[in-house]
């Protein structure tokens, strides 16, 4: 589920969730405090105030009652006009005003749940006041009157006490409710904190794993690649997060590294071949001078021997028959030996000349030329050469030459030499297959030559349906003096020189593809503009 999210987002998941949970807790506690405050205000402005005011009302009513009783007593002894009596009357009236004020307060603070009690109090307060005011306004005071007043008072008192009790109970109920709320909230908070801690731990672990697991995997993949295991398949390349990007980059690096290794191997091989070529040329130079003397003196000796034979002719003619035969036989053998020395000397000279070609790399003049016409020319030369040696020889050529190749920079005579070698080898391979007899009577030797435009380079392939090249030979075939031909038929220098011309001189590549008993294909790739080339010289018509 987390796989698709970038690590940049992933690292924020756990903190974000924790922050949201914390905010929820804060909100809940804020709500609880607010509710608690409302409950407090409700209690203070409501039942509690009612209860207090009711208590004070009770006291005030009690005071009025006691003054009324005293007034009643005084009225029985003194006249209404007596000063004490009239003062008392005024006090009673003002006390009633105070009682009214208190009752108003009780009424205004009380809730609807005690409205019956309020109305009862109101009724009895009115009755009590009516009786009292009748007395203080001069009505006769009898024991009957006093007992009526007492009865009213007691009734009123009981109602007020009831109201006070009920108000207190109501306040108590609100308080209990509030305490319960606080306790509940406290439990929620505790539970919430535990949930937050657990969620945080799990989330941190899960997200951390989601981040670290692919990185750990990637480290082992990269280590494997670094250890040289270059066919490691990099997992997670299809992912859309940073790991996916990293995996794709690692895959690209692996591919580049693989190519680099191949290039390095090719380079090492090319260097090896170059030093072998230099060595070959160096050896050739050293051998050439003494070989020249051998050939020269062999030729001279043959001439001298002819002169000697002529000079000795009269003497030999005068010898006895068997002596003459022996001398003539000796002279003939000597002559024969000298021609053998000359023949093998010429052979060695041919080898040395081929070896010297190794040192000629870079010596030829680079020109802009069309490789197709060079290939045609080389094929004709090779074909007629082969026909001259063996009249029976025949081969079909299939040309797939790209007419739009355009000119490339090369040393024409050297490239021609390369294709001469390649065609020569192709002819040899088909001839050998024909001589094997395994191919059957329907075997038809074919050489196919293909050229292709590869953009910055040009490719030429020479393919024959001859005997094919076994893999162990493929590994050594570009080495100087390596040959599979019988002694005297090949120097083992053709392909090594060709390789040097293509790779060292022209900065191209030369590779082989072959299946035993089916085909051999030599693939030459030449850059259009060689890095080693100087300024190209455009040549029109014949070579300069």
């Amino acid at each position: 589920m987390l796989g698709r999210l970038p690590i940049g987002v992933k690292v924020f998941i756990a903190p974000a969730v924790i922050i949201v949970l914390m905010l929820c807790v804060m909100l809940v506690s804020e709500l609880a405090v607010w509710r608690q405050q409302a409950a407090f205000l409700h209690v203070v402005g409501g039942p509690l105030t009612t209860s207090t005011a009711t208590t004070r009302l009770l006291l005030a009513v009690g005071e009025v009652q006691s003054e009324m009783l005293r007034y009643a007593q005084l009225r029985q002894r003194l006249s209404a006009e007596d000063r004490i009596v009239s003062d008392l009357r005024l006090s009673v009236i003002s006390k009633y005003q105070y009682v009214d004020t208190l009752f108003e307060k009780v009424r205004s603070t009380s809730g609807p749940d005690v409205s019956d009690a309020i109305s009862n109090i109101s009724d009895f307060l009115t009755i009590h006041r009516a009786v009292s005011l009748k007395i203080v306004d001069g009505a006769p005071v009898s024991s009957m009157t006093i007992s009526t007043l007492m009865a009213h008072y007691q009734q009123l008192q009981s109602y007020i006490v009831e109201l006070a009790t009920r108000s207190l109970e109501s306040a108590q109920a609100i308080e209990d409710d509030s305490a319960k709320t606080i306790e509940n909230f406290s439990n929620y908070l505790r539970g919430g904190s535990i949930v937050i801690i657990v969620v945080s731990i799990l989330l941190t672990y899960y997200v951390g794993r989601a981040i670290s697991q692919p990185i750990t995997n990637m480290i082992s993949i990269v280590s494997s690649i670094a250890a040289g295991n270059l066919s490691t398949s990099v997992p997670g390349m299809q992912r859309r997060d940073e790991i996916g990007a990293m995996a794709r980059a690692v895959d690209v690096l692996q591919e580049a590294y693989r190519e680099l290794r191949v290039t390095q191997a090719n380079l090492i091989h090319a260097e090896k071949m170059a030093s072998l070529g230099q060595l070959t040329a160096g050896i050739a130079h050293e051998i050439k001078n003494p070989l020249n003397f051998v050939n020269n003196f062999a030729g001279l000796s043959a001439e001298l021997l002819t002169e000697l034979s002529e000079a000795l002719k009269p003497g030999i003619d005068g010898l006895k028959a068997e002596e003459r035969t022996e001398v003539e036989a000796l002279l003939a053998t000597l002559n024969n030996n000298l021609s053998k020395i000359a023949e093998h000397g010429r052979r060695a000279d041919g080898i040395v000349k081929s070896m010297l070609l190794h040192s000629r790399g870079g010596g030829g003049e680079r020109q802009s030329a069309n490789i197709n016409s060079l290939i045609e020319e080389a094929f004709n030369l090779a074909y007629h050469g082969a026909r001259a040696q063996d009249k029976e020889f025949n081969i079909a050529i299939e040309r797939e030459l790209d007419p739009n190749l355009g000119p490339i920079e090369l040393v024409p005579q050297d490239i021609t030499r390369v294709f001469l070698n390649l065609f020569g080898n192709a002819f040899y391979a088909t001839k050998k297959r024909q001589q094997d007899g395994k191919a059957g009577v329907n075997y038809r030797p074919v050489v196919r030559v293909t050229t292709r435009d590869l953009g910055y380079q040009v490719e030429a392939r020479v393919r024959d349906n001859g005997v094919g090249v076994p893999p162990d030979v493929q590994a050594k075939m570009f080495t100087p003096f390596f040959t599979t031909k019988p002694t005297g038929e090949g120097t083992g220098l053709g392909l090594s020189i060709s390789y040097e011309i293509i790779v060292q001189q022209h900065g191209g590549t030369m590779t082989i593809d072959s299946r035993l008993g089916e085909f051999t294909e030599l693939i030459v790739q030449l850059p259009r503009r060689s890095a080693r080339a100087g300024k190209p010289r455009m040549v029109t018509g014949a070579t300069a």
């Binding site: 020249n292 003397f293 001279l300 000279d349």
Partner: protein, 131 residues
Amino acid sequence: MTVSILVVDDEPDVVELFRQRFRGEARRGDYALHFAESGERALELLGKGIRPELILILSDINMPGMDGLQLLHEIRQGWPHLAVMMVTAYDDDERRRSAAEAGAIDFLSKPVDFDYLKQRLRAFTSSPPLP
């Protein structure tokens, strides 16, 4: 009339080779062969004067001490009318070019084609070459 040829080469067997190749001509008195094993020795012989008349110098290029091309320069300075041919086992375009620029009349690669050399010499004796 006999004319002289000077062969400059550090290989001692060159003496034997030329003597044998030219033994017929020597016998007939066409050419007198002179040999020098180094450029320095060749200049010394030239300084002393060679008799009979010297018509050609054949010089190897690769020699210890003064090489053939240096010798060619020296000869151009002191004996501007003498014909010089360079002979070498190292046949490449650069050596050919520098020999021609320095004024060699020919460039022979080893092994020397004596038939060609004799043919050129006959042309020399019939009409003296221009430097």
